[in-house]
């Protein structure tokens, strides 16, 4: 946050539009470059969460699966905070080993 942002916030003014432009561009380009539509991304996000949830208990509030783009390459970035590993997952592993 810059000094100007603070003053804007204190005065209840709208923040400068430049950073908003950059943020919106980055998002739209991530989708343009990957050719993934939001609906497809949403479905993929749901399925990824389902698979991961089989093994670990996730903190769904803090998690996010999104597209990021840098240097003209797009990556699917999943940030999934783990609460704990599920007992059932450990059990399957143990039974598999014995």
């Amino acid at each position: 946050m810059t000094l100007r942002d603070l003053i804007d916030r204190l005065l209840g003014r709208q923040q400068a539009s430049g950073p908003t432009a950059k943020h919106r561009l980055q998002l739209v380009l991530a989708h343009d470059r990957s050719d993934l539509n939001p609906e497809l991304l949403q479905r993929m996000r749901k399925e990824i969460l389902e698979v991961v949830s089989k093994y670990v208990e996730l903190d769904l509030e803090g998690g996010d699966v999104s597209l990021e783009t840098e240097e003209r390459t797009t990556a699917l970035v999943a940030n999934l905070p783990i609460r704990r590993v599920k007992d059932t997952a450990l059990q399957t592993l143990a039974s598999g080993e014995s």
């Binding site: 946050m1 810059t2 000094l3 100007r4 603070l6 003053i7 400068a16 539009s17 430049g18 950073p19 432009a21 950059k22 919106r24 561009l25 980055q26 739209v28 380009l29 343009d32 470059r33 990021e68 783009t69 840098e70 240097e71 003209r72 390459t73 990556a75 970035v77």
Partner: protein, 298 residues
């Protein structure tokens, strides 16, 4: 976070040839360069750049041809003040109904510059990418640089224009729509292995940039991941010069945009000329206050 990946578009080599970097080469000593000038979005300054860059290169001793690849809505002739001297187009050259020298219109004040329109809107048959390649092959032996002014859009007209180019300059303005369209175009150029691709940021308004009411220079270069070839400030003189059909770079014009275009021409030939920081142009009290306001506090 993403790890930075190797850039696909490397910094411009002035002349794409096998000559070692330490050997001084003049542009005339190597194969002619064919440079596509494109943007995706219309109205960002492709044709203005082509006209001014053409004049600037020619005045610097580079034999330059400008090819208007937009035959549906051609305007390069108007910007160069040559609209009354066009008799033939590339189409007639290809059809064999005139010689190349008859179709190439030489600029009066800058004899190193010649214009060739690709065609006219009343053409019976639209040109194909192979036609464009043929035209450029015909022009190449007589020039050091061929600038191809692409039409707006990414459809057939753009594909035709790109077919004959070996490198590209992408023009954009610091606006979301222009940058988004530029990104699409860069993707298409990458697929065609056209490189180097360099960026010209046009119509920059320093005051708005300082106030963060406009995308910054580094915002645009970071997002598009291209090296910056030039930065042109918004300049009312551009409209005046268009009215007259005399590009700003003609006759040693001194307006800010003229200087910027001339610097682009020099950088294109491999000279190192530092790029100005538009946010540092006015070093008065106001600028200092603005800078203070941009200090990160947390």
């Amino acid at each position: 976070m993403l790890r930075p990946r190797p850039r696909r578009c490397n910094f411009p080599t002035p002349i794409p040839s096998a000559v070692p970097a330490d050997v001084p080469v003049s542009v005339t000593a190597s194969a002619p360069r064919t440079i596509l000038i494109c943007s995706g979005k219309g109205g960002v300054g492709k044709t203005t750049l082509t006209a001014n860059l053409g004049i600037a290169l020619a005045s610097q001793g580079v034999r330059t041809a400008v090819l208007d690849a937009d035959f549906g809505l051609r305007n390069l002739d108007l910007l160069l003040g040559l609209e009354n001297r066009i008799v033939f187009t590339a189409q007639e050259v290809l059809a064999g109904s005139c010689r190349l020298e008859q179709a190439m219109v030489k600029h009066k004040q800058e004899p190193n510059l010649a214009l060739l329109p690709a065609g006219n809107p009343r053409m019976l048959e639209w040109l194909k990418p192979e036609d464009m390649q043929k035209i450029v092959e015909l022009i190449k032996p007589h020039f050091d640089v061929v600038l191809i002014d692409a039409p707006a859009g990414i459809e057939d007209g753009f594909k035709n224009a790109a077919a004959a180019a070996s490198e590209a300059i992408v023009v954009t303005t610091p606006e979301v729509s222009a940058v988004r369209d530029a990104d699409r175009v860069i993707g298409l150029l990458n697929v065609r292995n056209i490189e180097p691709i360099q960026l010209v940021l046009n119509r920059v308004r320093p005051k708005m940039m300082v106030n963060q009411e406009m995308l910054g220079v580094s915002d645009v270069t970071d997002i598009l991941a291209l090296p910056l070839l030039g930065l042109v400030l918004e300049d009312e003189q551009v409209i005046v010069s268009t009215n007259r059909g005399e590009p700003l770079t003609l006759n040693g014009g001194k307006s800010p945009a003229a200087v910027a275009y001339r610097n682009i021409a020099r950088r294109l030939q491999g000279e190192t000329i530092p790029l100005p920081d538009p946010t540092q142009l006015n070093r008065g009290l106001r600028a200092k206050v603005r800078q203070l306001l941009q200090t990160k506090i947390f």
